[in-house]
Amino acid sequence: MKILVAVKRVIDYNVQVRVKEDGTGVVTDNVKMSTNPPDDNAIEEAVKIKESGKAKEIVAVTIGEEKAQETVRKALAVGADRGIHVKVDGIIEPLAVSKVLQKIIEKENPDLVFMGKQAIDDDCNQTGQMLAALLNWPQATFASKIEVKDKSLEVTREVDEGLETIEINIPAVVTCDLRLNEPRYASLPNIMKAKKKPLEQINASDLGVDTKQRIEQIKVEEPPKRKAGIKVSSVAELVQKLKNEAKVI
């Protein structure tokens, strides 16, 4: 079995995101970037399946500017065998990402495609589902447990009401929740080895996919600031304020 894992480079989750003064976006210059956190879970799950002997090859794919390669190198350092970087500059919407991935999948023929449930930059939560639709494959979103069977997967999904279990035929797209596993860290020797693993670069324009934005970003602004609060001197005062001033208890 072959697993393709899609990873995205985003602003690190520990960075305080700042809005640009001209309202065109957020500041990314000299800001720490990392792999989108649930994409790390997607890679980890693929590596675990390979270690269990149920998968032969893991291909890590990213789509984005030159530096997006770093996320593929990281995936290679924790166990992916080969990388693909589809180069495109600027904002690329989930619909276009899923079309690019569809082209890669037509070439690579994986049995499974894993990715994070959502990217923590645009918070869209769309790519996996869109890709599954374009391929007419089943989808398992928000996966917190994956059991590989003969020609199917049994997937437990995190839904609002609790947990849902579905069985999906292979090939399939799975989007991974943070609860799926604990992503491992790359060891230094593995980081060195990853530098020798193959990483193919493709231009998005060569794939014949229209990556133009369909959604105009008119402005990006700071969320409204909270008005300054007060310090209370005792628990009794706090409870009185909550009861009589805020009227929330």
Partner: protein
């Protein structure tokens, strides 16, 4: 121009978030139709027809729709979508799972998780877990939009009398099989929808100490949250995690106990209506977002808090 809203229900009654989505949908256009897909859903459709904002109910009733599977729902939604300018639903796990599958087949770039309708093609949505707000304009002919339920009031549920029409089902998908759903049985409200949330952080110092939080949560009928630091330290399971990589909550009252206020935690709770912070470090960043800050040792403050609550004879539920 008409709007088609996909209802979420359990074949018996409508799920509450759909009512919030109805409010947003009717702000896009008054001509709002609701698509109800399920098994033996006469009662659900009748209740939807009584929502004053709803102009028409489309019922697709078939045994194959007993359990909600995106692979089964998508073909009938795409077919119904022909007649509409907007397809909308709530941005909870139901809508997040379903809408992109529909949007891709309509070749539409979806607008996710809107918090405000500015005009029928322009919306406000949070990005970076609410650290920035983006105003976006969709240039697709057909627009697919999901709605953050907590940003809109629920629609009125009585007084209307919309027409109910029946529409055809499609072939069942063989790709996916529903196995089971385990609903978390808890007397406590869900973290994502609770009116009051009380969360503990690394300052709790142990999992056992969360019983101080639990006692207050019981008293206030609150959900229990936690910071990533508390989860990473193993004090509590990660389904309680509030923050950018956990759940985003917007309760009427959020009480942060022993939480310093890391960026990633603030991203998950700073839209709460009233925020209380209890922390012994007066310089902790959590105080910068708190309406009421109490600089105190939580191990003294929490028992006192419970005692004060017990003195009140009325607590809103």
């Amino acid at each position: 121009m008409s709007v088609l809203l996909i209802a979420e229900h359990n074949n018996k009654e409508i799920r509450p978030f759909t009512l919030n989505a109805i409010t947003a949908a009717s702000q896009i256009d008054q001509d709002l139709h609701v698509l109800v897909i399920g098994k033996s859903i006469d009662a659900v459709c009748k209740s939807v027809s009584e929502i004053p904002n709803v102009k028409k109910v489309i019922q697709i009733d078939n045994d194959i729709y007993e359990n909600y599977l995106a692979e089964n729902f998508t073909p009938v939604i795409v077919k119904q979508a022909e007649n509409y300018s907007h397809i909308v639903c709530s941005a909870n796990t139901f809508g997040k799972n379903l809408m992109p599958r529909v949007a891709a087949l309509l070749d539409t770039s979806q607008v996710s998780d809107i918090i405000k309708v500015i005009s029928p093609d322009t919306f406000l949505r949070p990005i970076y877990a609410g650290n920035a707000f983006a105003t976006v304009k969709s240039n697709d002919n057909k627009k697919c939009v999901t709605i953050r339920p907590t940003s809109f009031d629920p629609a009125q549920t009585s007084g209307g009398s919309a027409e109910i029409i029946k529409a055809d089902s499609a072939e069942a998908s063989t790709l996916t099989k529903f196995i089971k759903r385990e609903e978390i049985k808890s007397d406590r409200p869900e973290l994502g929808t609770a009116r009051i949330v009380i969360s503990g952080g690394r300052g709790m110092a142990s999992g056992d100490n969360f019983k101080l939080i639990t006692a207050i949560a019981d008293k206030l009928n609150a959900a229990i949250g936690a910071s990533r630091a508390a989860v990473d330290a193993g004090y509590i399971t990660n389904d309680h995690q509030v923050g950018q990589t956990g759940k985003v909550v917007v309760p009427d009252l959020y009480i942060a106990v022993g939480i310093s206020g890391a960026i990633q935690h603030l991203a998950g709770m700073k839209e709460s209506k009233i925020i209380v912070a209890i922390n012994k470090d007066g310089e902790a960043p959590i105080f910068s977002v708190a309406d009421y800050g109490l600089e105190a040792d939580l191990f003294e403050a929490l028992p006192q808090f419970l005692e004060e609550l017990n003195k009140l004879n009325t607590i809103q539920k």
